[in-house]
Amino acid sequence: MSTTVQLPRWIDVGALPLLNLLLALAVSGLVVLAIGENPVEVVEILLYGAFGYEEAWGYTLYYTTNFVFTGLAFAVAFHCGLFNIGAEGQAYVGGLGVTLAALYLDFLPFPIMLVIGMLAAMVFGAAWAYIPAYLQARRGSHVVITTIMFNFIASSLMVYLLVNVLRPDGSMTPESEQIAENLRLPFIHDMAAALGIEMASSPLNLSFVYAIVASVMVWLFIWHTRWGYAIRTVGSNAVAATYAGLEPGRYIIIAMMISGALASFMALNEVMGVQHRLLIDFTAGYGFVGIAVALMGRNHPFGIFLAALLFGMLYQGGAELSFEIPTISNDMVVVIQGLVILFTGAMEHMFRPRVTKIYTAWRLRRDAQEAA
């Protein structure tokens, strides 16, 4: 093998992912061209829809909140070398936890409910993740397949519960009762109004603050705690971890349960924050977007936040887009999402050899010049 130089960090975590992202967006542009629309116009509408007016910001950040949670969920499992494809199901079951807590513990005062709601989501989401985690850790069943299966099982279970158990008497629509008004997460525009600041109303709510706190907590957890260290060790080399006295199975279960709990926080935003009741399929694929978000953000909370913002923008801008250009529906956003996962995830190594070669050549020449 020829001599190569280690790529500096700014290329590794900055330039390379950016190059892949640009390629994904370029291909998306080609798709827009192929269906006979103007990509420049599309980008303009997207940006206007996402940031052009005050209300749009709120919507963008509301979507961002969901993606931060599901992105963090994927990242924590990924640091342990696991692919948690099950964020969708974990968030769905987490939603059940929030709803049950809000409906049956409605005598609790608001501040306590905030904590209880969060705990209920965490417990349900983590419990749903525990089974695939246990099966991976103790029985060697591949977590990718089992989490996919658990998404479908969750979906069937929730349809059953919503149709047969949670649906109020006399109602035909399969959804739960409304959560009492005093137990809902306050909207940011209401909170701002209480402080005397006027803001356009949007679904953005307190869970956005949770999302920021969760990002910081995950960063602290992964890089500054023993468990985080152990999880990363197991993730990079389970055999070495065993020799170092760490039992991989234990950390697989811990990482998956934390992952499930993080995914379930999405239910706080959707159920406690916006819909105020449990709806069928309220997760709407946000769990899968989390994969794209985490991969783009290189599984670092800061990167995840930026990627989540990008996808929040795409979702909100995409809604505007389907309004303005009828041939381009929300599906355009799904296409972009797929391309981003493809280019920044699956083909992340595509440019690496070439970039390494160019960088090596440049370094060698510079070293030679310095020596001369």
Binding site: S141, I148, M149, F150, Y160, D331, L342, H349
Partner: protein, 323 residues
């Protein structure tokens, strides 16, 4: 007698619901036995279904539609291969990417071409695969027992159903009785040994994903031009994942996978039939439970409680020739 007829009808429906599963499960098997995880079955099926319906609509010929479906899924398989085999990307991520991409792209192109909210226009009779009456079916129709079995159950399906059931022994033969099959299984177990024997691992794996593409294309075409009469948005509705589950349930082997597909197809057919039916002693059957059963059974199998499912040894690992 009435119960007998009911059973025949249920089994008849089972054959129809399990056909796309069989084709897709075999597709998954070819890819995974060569060492490439194929989570993209769902997306490929969707792409195939869309191409088949769109092309059959323009050409008024289901066979050209079928070819278009196969061409689409081969292209997607090559994309998957390009990411996973050539660039050694993550196979799970690539599969998920293709699923998400196709879910959006089929709807987007559908709206751009036909402006019917992501559907393709309904296909008329000439553009669809029609039921085939097997020779002598009319003659034995009124013979008790044999008559209904032959006329109702075996005869009267479209060509793709018969192809799917013939594909199982064919796949078995290719996999276990040909040089190609031996090499394919070998690159999935021990690519290093295959390389040492002077056979290109990369080329072998590409051939395997192409086989996979051909089969999954047929299953997609079946959905939109044989079972249904148009493409509907997200019409696969998890069938690709069920096929994947069936393949795992069949322990990556053709005949057990067929059995799993028939079981899952039967559960699907039964769930449709049991909707709202009140069984004596049990009460109303929770349809959702029946629908979730394939996934639950697969998880139990994977957990090793009913036999062990051992995947190919090199599954999911890109081949690196030298370090």
């Amino acid at each position: 007698m009435e119960n007998f007829e009911l059973v025949i009808l249920l089994l008849d429906a089972t054959l129809r619901t399990s056909t796309p599963l069989i084709l897709a499960a075999l597709a998954g098997m070819f890819s995974e036995r060569s060492g490439t995880i194929n989570l993209a079955l769902e997306g490929m099926m969707l792409g195939g279904a869309f191409s088949a319906a769109a092309v059959a609509f323009y050409m008024d010929d289901p066979w050209i539609g079928l070819l278009a479906a196969i061409a689409t899924t081969i292209a997607l398989s090559l994309l998957h291969g390009f990411a996973c085999i050539t660039h050694k990307g993550n196979q799970v991520v690539s599969g998920m990417a293709i699923n998400i991409l196709m879910s959006g792209l089929t709807a987007l192109v559908g709206i751009a071409l036909f402006a019917q909210g992501g559907k393709t226009p309904a296909l008329d009779k000439a553009a669809r695969f029609q039921p085939i009456t097997l020779p002598g079916a009319e003659a034995v129709k009124d013979v008790p027992i044999i008559g209904p079995i032959y006329f109702e159950l075996l005869s009267g399906h479209n060509i793709l159903v018969y192809i799917a059931f013939l594909a199982v022994p064919a796949a078995w033969w290719v996999m276990y009785r040909t040089r190609f099959g031996l090499r394919l299984r070998a690159v999935g177990e021990n690519p290093g040994a295959v390389d040492t024997a002077g056979i290109g691992v990369v080329a072998m794996r590409y051939r395997a994903v192409i086989c996979s593409g051909v089969l999954v294309g047929m299953s997609g075409a079946y959905l939109s031009t044989a079972q249904g009469a148009s493409f509907l948005q997200d019409m696969t509705a998890g069938k690709g994942y069920i096929a994947l589950a069936a393949m795992v349930f069949g322990k990556w082997r053709p005949f057990p996978a067929l059995a799993a597909c028939l079981l899952f197809g039967f559960l699907d057919a039964a769930a449709t039939r049991l909707q709202g039916v009140i069984l004596p002693g049990i009460g109303e059957v929770p349809v959702q439970l029946v629908q979730a059963l394939p996934y639950v059974l697969t998880v139990i199998l994977l957990a090793g409680f009913i036999g062990r499912a051992i995947p190919p040894k090199a599954l999911g690992r890109p081949y690196v020739k030298e370090r």
